[in-house]
């Protein structure tokens, strides 16, 4: 039972990252391999905001989200736009985002050094125990924060104009262009939103995991796996996939084997890809070109 509880905060983080992947993929057909590193950058930038400007947690969160969102826009503009103009094969786009990941990871290394940094948490990490189960305020904050962000995103997508434009593009890019949607702007928005979400995920998880320059790599990969398991391109499916993966990992690690935990995750991934490539939580198998 405790395993389930443990899986929730991790699952929430995976859900946020998976969401970001699906958002970008749906909106622009791009697989953004650097998503995980946005998580890392978010944590580091917030850390620096703490250190040098002594801002409070919420302010650091918002500030970092904003800055990383801006970085996302820059990436989209400088890298994805030229690629799209040149009609590059999709695999080249993936490789380009891989390059972004490598560069951002090593720039972070150069700026902040190889040592792990502690991230102060606004809430305590003393456990509250109920019977055999314990949970910390930290965990609750992560899950709560994640849900808040998802709620905000939902609102933005459903109610605002820009959000509706994004959804239109996701559904049918050419029709949206015909209807006058500026796809460059919507792509940029998708990137900004995903980057900001990633940053938030990083800040939420940082107190638990420390801030290191390679924290993004693992989370990014797992988030991607979660998105695919859930059903790539669909946001609710991504969220479900994220929580699913978090809980499965927790259970597998505890009950089956800690060393093989990741191997189990990847085997699960390959099985899903093989037997139900549209994802576990998607109803229809959509045609993936």
């Amino acid at each position: 039972m405790q395993y389930l509880l443990n899986g929730l905060p991790i699952g929430a983080i995976y859900a946020l990252v998976a969401l970001s992947y699906s958002l970008i993929y749906a909106a622009s057909g791009v697989l953004n391999w650097s998503q995980g590193d946005m998580v890392m950058l978010g944590a580091y930038i917030a850390f620096s905001l703490f250190q040098f400007f002594h801002v409070g947690f919420t302010l650091a969160l918002l500030g970092s989200m904003f800055l990383v969102g801006a970085i996302g826009v820059v990436v989209q503009f400088c890298i994805l736009r030229p690629l799209r103009k040149r009609e590059a094969p999709p695999i080249n786009v993936v490789i380009a985002t891989l390059g972004v990941a490598i560069v951002s990871r090593n720039i972070a290394l150069a700026i902040w050094g190889p040592e792990a940094q502690i991230f102060p948490s606004p809430v305590s990490s003393v456990p509250m125990t109920v019977g055999a189960l314990s949970v910390t305020w930290q965990d609750l904050l992560i899950v709560f924060g994640a849900f808040c962000l998802m709620g905000v995103l939902h609102y933005l997508l459903k109610k605002t104009r820009k959000g509706k434009a994004l959804r239109a593009v996701a559904q049918d890019r050419y029709a949206a262009i015909l209807m006058g949607v500026d796809t460059n702007k919507s792509d940029a928005l998708a990137f900004a939103a995903s980057a900001a979400l990633g940053a938030a995920a990083g800040i939420l998880i940082a107190p638990v995991f420390f801030v290191t320059f390679n924290m993004g790599a693992g989370i990014g990969l797992k988030g991607f796996v979660a998105a695919v398991i859930g059903g790539l391109g669909n946001i609710p499916a991504a969220i479900a996939g994220g929580f699913f993966l978090g809980i499965v990992e927790s259970l597998a690690g505890g009950l089956i084997s800690s060393g093989y935990r990741d191997a189990i995750t990847f085997t699960l991934l390959i099985l899903v890809l093989w037997l139900r490539p549209s994802g576990l939580f998607l109803r229809k198998a959509r045609q993936r070109a």
């Binding site: 050094g113 792990a116 003393v126 420390f210 505890g254 935990r261």
Partner: protein, 386 residues
């Protein structure tokens, strides 16, 4: 014609360029003075960077001192550093470079056990003595390789003393281990298991983790439900700090133990409250009272404005061991050097009185059992000899 030329041309070009570079750089001036060249390999970047950088600084300081006070007779020392990022392939390349390019006569390296093993192949094939001041993996000195020596503290010694302490002083009966899934962690796990059996304690759980893992709660839950009173960790400081933190978050109150691999100030910094009271073995504490230690710390502090870490102390001693051997051998020939090194004795250094056994392990090291109190390590007990 175009088709074949397409791939021949680039191939030719590459070969020609390589030949040119090789030719240009081929001239190496031979040193005619009495100079011993030392090559140092260590992780100066990456996750174990603090260890590699500590080694670098200490070796540099030792070389400067020895040259200044002529502690090696008429010989001068020259040192070359290479960063291996803790990666075995890069470490082997770095060792190769030091031996082939810089013509070093002895190698100090590496810190990560898997890197040292890879380097040993290179130094063994080239016939150059190699001393590791940081690797504690057991297999290093069990290969029958006659070119490798180790001045890092013996893992077996540490494991035995930790378990003994747990039983004699803390009165624990049920214990668990939580070890890294790399060579260092797993050789430690084996030694701990043997020690636990020898002391007659109950061994209730033994999960492992991968370096770089961030979530240890599943394994910790297993340990919690096994009822262990003590958890022996064996790995590096970042993971150890995280494990301690997460253990406390799960309301696990068992006593935590660790070994020299995690003995760094960063452990306390990252672990904070969670690592208070953690008991670990190390070879060196800045204020452990010994005169040699005090001198070393003072010199290091005035030069680098920070306290030295155990790996630094071990590396520092290693250079002195080399200088002493050099004086006795009075030559840079590999065999002479190696023989002189193996016969080291009578030195009283910062981390012990070095003496090598037939396998190449230094069995004269002091072992300090320490605990974390506040934001420093506090000495509990000193054990010497193996």
């Amino acid at each position: 014609m175009s088709r074949v030329k397409n791939w021949l041309l680039p191939l030719l070009a590459t070969l020609i360029v390589v030949c040119l570079i090789a030719g240009l750089a081929g001239c190496n001036q031979a040193a005619s003075k009495k100079v011993l060249k030392i090559g140092v390999v260590g992780p100066e970047s990456g996750t174990a960077a603090q260890l590699g950088q500590g080694q670098h600084k200490a070796v540099q300081m030792a070389v400067d001192e020895i040259n200044a006070k002529k502690a090696a007779g008429d010989w001068q020392l020259e040192v070359f550093f290479e960063d291996d990022e803790g990666n075995p392939t890069k470490s082997a390349s770095a060792t190769n470079k030091l031996i082939q390019q810089s013509n070093v006569n002895v190698i100090i390296g590496a810190i990560n056990s898997s890197a040292t093993l890879a380097d040993m192949v290179v130094s063994g094939r080239a016939g150059i003595p190699q001393i590791t001041a940081g690797s504690t993996g057991a297999s290093i000195t069990q290969q029958g390789d006659k070119w490798i020596l180790r001045t890092a503290v013996n893992d077996e010694f540490q494991a035995n003393e930790l378990v003994k302490y747990a039983k004699d002083v803390l009165g624990l009966k049920k214990v668990a281990t939580f070890t890294a899934a790399d060579d260092y962690g797993q050789s430690g796990a084996k030694l701990l298991a043997a020690a636990i059996e020898k002391q007659g304690l109950q061994y209730v759980a033994s999960p492992t983790y991968n370096n770089g893992d961030k979530d240890f709660k599943p394994q910790l839950l297993n340990v919690k439900s096994s009822g262990a009173q003590g958890i022996f960790m064996w790995g590096l400081y970042t993971e150890a700090a995280l494990i301690s933190k997460q253990a406390r978050q799960l309301a696990i109150s068992a006593q935590l133990f660790g070994a020299s691999g995690m003995a760094a100030q960063k452990l306390i910094e990252l672990g904070g409250d969670a690592v208070q009271g953690l008991v670990l073995t190390q070879t060196f504490l800045p204020d452990s009272g010994n005169q040699a230690v005090r001198d070393f710390v003072a010199k290091y502090k005035s030069k680098y404005q920070e306290n030295p870490i155990p790996h630094a102390a071990q590396a520092y001693d290693t250079v002195y061991i080399i200088a002493d051997a050099l004086k006795r051998a009075n030559s840079t020939a590999p065999d002479a050097l190696r023989d002189a090194l193996t016969k080291t004795g009578g030195l009283k250094l910062v981390t012990g009185e070095p003496k090598f056994n037939t396998q190449g392990d230094d069995i004269g090291k002091y072992l300090l059992i320490t605990t974390i109190k506040g934001d420093t390590f506090e000495l509990l007990k000193t054990v010497s000899g193996s």
